[in-house]
Every structure is written in structure tokens, then in C-alpha cells.
Amino acid sequence: MRMRFILVLVALAIASTSAYADDDSDIKEQQRVVIQNRKFKLGTEVAFEGATLPLDPFNKGLGGTARLTFHFNDFNAWEVISATGAYNLNSDLANQLEKNFGIQAQQLPGLILMLESDYIVKPFYGKFALANRTLLYQEVYLAVGATASYWTDPNPLRQIRYGPNVGGGLRFFVADWLSWRFDLRYAAVASEIPFLIKNATLDGVLYLGTGLAFNIGG
């Protein structure tokens, strides 16, 4: 009986706190939160981005990315596929290994292609005042999913690496059909099962990209 009483008290306390928070969150709008309808809604999105992949110790990668995303509603979307091709420039470390230690470029692993598929949640949608003059609409989204990647590596077992990825992004709407987006993603990819198989590799791929997204429908 006492347990039930405590549970009721806790439930009441939580309910009153959230109600208070709702009332208090926008005092200047007459104690009420008014959410406008969204001006921009997305349907099928095709995005093209340029990116940098700065984490590889042997290569500084420049990436070109294409993404296809289906937006189910205002909050949920599925980035069905995204493909990133990397153009690798030698890092200082790779140059030193090649010049001073006789290491061949083919011996150094480098990311070539990365495929991702992600669930996208878009909790934040809003508008910015740009220098208090112009309105810009934007949204913030978070991504989580799976990555498969192809690497140059003398060991064939290490050429395909896969693993989870997480990330987020910011989108500025330019028109119904066009938006400008910034993405940050991090994938942890392994060649085999890390920690269980001795020779398995585990690499982090950081992706910093920006580009244009074209929307069809919505």
C-alpha cells in the first residue's frame, strides 16, 4: 500500500513539473507555446556533398558523397543509402615512411569507398533571424546506422571493413526543393570481430561534409 502511495506521489510530481515547464517555456507568448506549421516539408531527398576525412594517419581524404533519403514524416526518415568516394592525399607520416623507411605506398591502408544506411531523427525544426533582418528556416537531425567500407590493404581480409556509425547535421532551407546541409558523422569500422580475433583492425572514420540537398515531393 505504501509503495503504491509513493508511486502515485512520484507520478503527480512528474506531471506537475512537466506542466509547469510547458507553461513557463515561453512566458512572453501569453503563457502559451504556439508552434507554427512547418513551412518546409521533405519527401524524397537527394544530396550531394563534399567532405574531408581527416582521421586516417596515412591519408588525408577528400570525399565526394551522394545520399538518398526518404522522409516518412516531420520527425523520422531513412537515409536508404549514402556513398562516399575518397581521394587520398599522403599524410606527412606516409611521406616519411615511404622516404625514410622504404615502405611502399601499396602497403599503407587507405579508405576508398564508404556505404552507409541510417535512421534519421529530426527533433529540431525552427527559424533563425539572420542579423535580425531575414528569416532562415532550418532543422537539426541525428543519424545512427551501419557502415560498410572498402580499403586498399595488402591483406585481403582487411579490405572490407564494417561497423556502426553515428552523427548529426544542420540543414538550412533555401527553397521547397533546395536546402544546404552540414554533416558530421563518425563510423567505427572493423575488418573482423575486434577483441575476439587477434588480427582484427578497428578504425575510426570521421566525416565532415557540406553540400546541397534536392527535395522531391513533401
Binding site: A21, D22, S25, D26, K28, V33, I35, Q36, N37, K39, P54, L55, P57, D74, F75, S91, D92, L93, L97, F101, I103, Q107, P123, F124, Y125, G126, K127, F128, A129, L130, A131, N132, R133, T134, L135, L136, Q138, V140, P154, L170, L184, G204, L206, L208
Partner: protein, 216 residues
């Protein structure tokens, strides 16, 4: 004369376009754009952050950061000082290089210890988000540009420019949550002039809280 007329027409067309742009971008709310007064204003900002400094191939840094920023008005501020301590963790690359197929013992390279920076801060974007269409959260987007000085484990100081951006979510008048991305290009000599000069990139990905005093 003809170029003058052409220039005047060009300027007039740009001006007309800008005016039209102001009245055009909110169709559903009438013909005029109404910008509300800012709910949150900043004055003296003290920031504590943590994050990562991921660019060093041999050592991955865990960042511990403190900053003080003086906000002059809604748009302009001076981040008078920001200091980041890097807690370095071995990336495992030395082990990889020591084993097959490389068999290379890398020389001992200096590790980043501290980065101090001072930046001009422009905050052109201020707005509000609907969180799951049910609550309103105020935020702003800032851009940074300034100078960094880094201190390394071999006792050297390397200065250079830095730039970055941050997004801030306001929780209360006195508290906000912010996420930063910053990049410094520090060097141990003047590139081009000194053939041995090296440029190091320091990327900082940070998240933390800011405490605001004054402003309202």
C-alpha cells in the same frame, strides 16, 4: 557614361531583389517579416567544455576546456581567452608500425599539451526550434576567427590562426548548452620563409555548458 548607367541598373536590381526578399520569405504569415525581440541576451560568459582532439595520428586527445567571452551586443563578442588541455591517449599506431609489415620504430614526437586562443565572435543567427513540435528552444549560431598558441611536450610554442563555429541552446538566462567545432593551424616557423617550418592542424570537437552573468 554607358558603364555608369549599367552599374546603376545593376545596383538598383540588387536593391530591389533584397527588398523583395525581405517581404517574400514568410508567405503564410502575411507580407512582412516580423522579428521578435531576443528572449536571451548574453554579457559575461564562462564556458566549460569537453570533447576530442582527434587529428594527431599517435595520440588522441581528450579535451578539457575553459573560456571567458565578453558579449558587446547581439552580434559581436570577444572570446578573450579560451584554454584547452589535451589529455593524450595512445592511438595504437606505434604498435601497428612496430609490427608486420612495417617494422618501424617511430621517433618520439611532441604531444600537444595546451591550446590557448582568443577570438572575435560573430553571432549573425538567432532563432528558435520546435522540439518534436511541442516545446520551444531558443538557440544561436556563432562563427569564430582569431589566434591560437599551442604548447607541446617538447617545450615548444606554436602560434597560428584559428576559426570555427558553435551552436548554442539556451536553457535559462544564466545557462546554455553549446557545441563547438574549431580548427587551428599552428606552425613552428614561417612557412615559405623557413624551409623547416611545419604546419600542424588541431581540430577540436567540443560540447559543454556556458554560464552567463548579466545581459538578461
Amino acid at each position: 557614361m554607358r558603364p555608369l548607367i549599367f552599374a546603376a541598373v545593376l545596383i538598383a536590381s540588387f536593391a530591389a531583389h533584397a527588398t523583395s526578399g525581405q517581404y517574400d520569405d514568410e508567405d503564410s504569415g502575411g507580407n512582412a517579416v516580423v522579428i521578435q525581440q531576443r528572449e536571451f541576451k548574453m554579457a559575461h560568459e564562462f564556458t566549460m567544455q569537453s570533447g576530442t582532439l582527434p587529428l594527431d595520428a599517435f595520440e588522441k586527445g581528450i579535451a578539457l576546456t575553459g573560456r571567458y567571452t565578453l558579449h558587446f551586443d547581439d552580434f559581436n563578442a570577444w572570446e578573450i581567452v579560451g584554454v584547452t588541455y589535451s589529455l593524450n591517449i595512445d592511438s595504437g599506431l606505434k604498435g601497428i608500425l612496430a609490427n608486420d609489415p612495417f617494422h618501424v620504430q617511430p621517433e618520439s614526437l611532441p604531444e600537444l599539451i595546451l591550446v590557448a586562443d582568443s577570438n572575435y565572435v560573430a553571432t549573425p543567427f538567432y532563432g528558435k526550434f520546435a522540439l518534436f513540435n511541442s516545446a520551444i528552444i531558443y538557440e544561436e549560431l556563432s562563427l569564430y576567427g582569431g589566434l591560437s598558441v599551442s604548447y607541446w611536450s617538447d617545450g615548444s610554442f606554436q602560434p597560428g590562426p584559428d576559426f570555427g563555429a558553435a551552436i548554442r541552446f539556451f536553457m535559462f538566462d544564466f545557462l546554455s548548452l553549446r557545441f563547438d567545432i574549431r580548427h587551428s593551424l599552428v606552425m613552428n616557423g614561417i612557412p615559405v620563409v623557413d624551409p623547416n617550418a611545419q604546419i600542424n592542424g588541431i581540430l577540436q570537437l567540443l560540447a559543454g555548458v556556458s554560464f552567463n552573468i548579466g545581459g538578461g
